[in-house]
Symmetry: C2
Subunit: 224 residues, 2 copies
């Protein structure tokens, strides 16, 4: 690892995902599972929930270490399932926020994430949610981005991803990573377009009266 | 009332607000009280929560008819207090969403809203949340706006407000009303600017990597 970065706490090969037959999802739905934790950043989660939630035949469930979780802004959400298990899903969503500052040192969360990523068709991080994912090493060697205000902090945790200082979002393999807070909403509409085409993305954009930055290279908060 | 609109169910003069000494707020905070109900639209609520929640010395609480409320997109929030009382607050936030289609006929909610508005220094509606407020008649004669896709429906409920077909948001007296879904996030940053000045709004804009439409007359979804 280069540049004096700390050693990530987990190596991918050390963990085997637990097997569970439980699911919070209805059969046949596009399954979006979003991780929440105390002091998650409100819009990191709810911007993507807004856009993804208008996709056809989609179900969104929250997963957390406890039943009730408080956002950094105050309002609380209810988890639909717990991190005592992992779950098959189509899209794992990982928001950021001040809560990640502590959680990047939480080895049980990293272990859960690594196992959960293995059961997720795709993974979508927003803001410093990318830091949580980077601690599992699954982003090593891949292009990824994160909050531009916290960019150096995230890079200091794991220098091995190909960190992109100018990108509203980046898709590399199964991993969609986005820049700070609001960028997640733009990236979510990109994901709608990726799955369902531009007309569906535009339908949801219009429905929500959203002013979509649909160009991942148009990053007004680029750094470095 | 003009144009065949239905009669709003309440006249402002018929209701006296109940008095309660209970408060969900910490003394000395800027008190934001946000109404939630089943099938509220996620971003209507959480976009403003994101921006207002970064204001200095601010506390945001949710109020609902029951303890746990489900958004249209699925995830659930926990109410901090119930509509069995009204509460002194600085800003009452009323989101919209498909849940309003039923609630505009709920006379107990309209009675609560009218009493709650009387205890709120300002009132901020997003999207079809404006329809709920319009049913109490407090917007009669005032400039107001709402979701542009649902504009005719809202106008048909009460034709007496001066409905603005081209406005991202409108401030008239104590009432800030905004257009559909995402417009609420822009209007919330306007409210930050209104209370704390442009530098504070820009600070929060940057922190959230937001691309703020800061011109209320720039309404890409204008109708009529």
């Amino acid at each position: 690892m280069a540049g004096g970065a700390m050693t990530p706490m987990l190596q991918a090969k050390t963990i085997s995902p637990p097997v569970s037959s439980e699911t919070p999802f209805t059969q046949g739905k596009y399954r979006v599972l979003a991780l929440v934790f105390d002091d998650y950043e409100t819009l990191d989660l709810h911007g993507p929930v807004e856009m993804l939630g208008h996709m056809p035949n989609t179900e969104i469930k929250l997963v957390a270490a406890k039943e009730i979780v408080r956002s950094y802004q105050g309002p609380r959400v209810v988890a639909d399932c717990l991190t005592t298990n992992t779950y098959d899903c189509d899209l794992l969503v990982i928001p950021g926020g001040l809560g990640t500052r502590k959680l990047v040192s939480d080895s049980s969360l990293s272990q859960w994430l690594l196992a959960q990523v293995a059961r997720s068709q795709h993974v979508f991080t927003i803001c410093t949610g990318t830091a949580l994912l980077a601690m599992t090493c699954v982003l090593n060697g891949r292009k990824a981005t994160t909050n531009k205000m916290a960019f150096e902090w995230v890079r200091s945790l794991n220098a091995n991803p190909q960190w992109q200082p100018k990108a509203r979002w980046v898709l590399d393999g199964k991993f969609l990573t986005s820049s700070g807070v609001s960028a997640g909403t733009d990236a979510a509409l990109f994901w709608v377009k990726h799955l369902h085409g531009e007309a569906e993305a535009k339908r949801i954009q219009t429905l929500t009266e959203y002013q979509w930055n649909d160009d991942p290279h148009n990053d007004p908060y680029a750094v470095g």
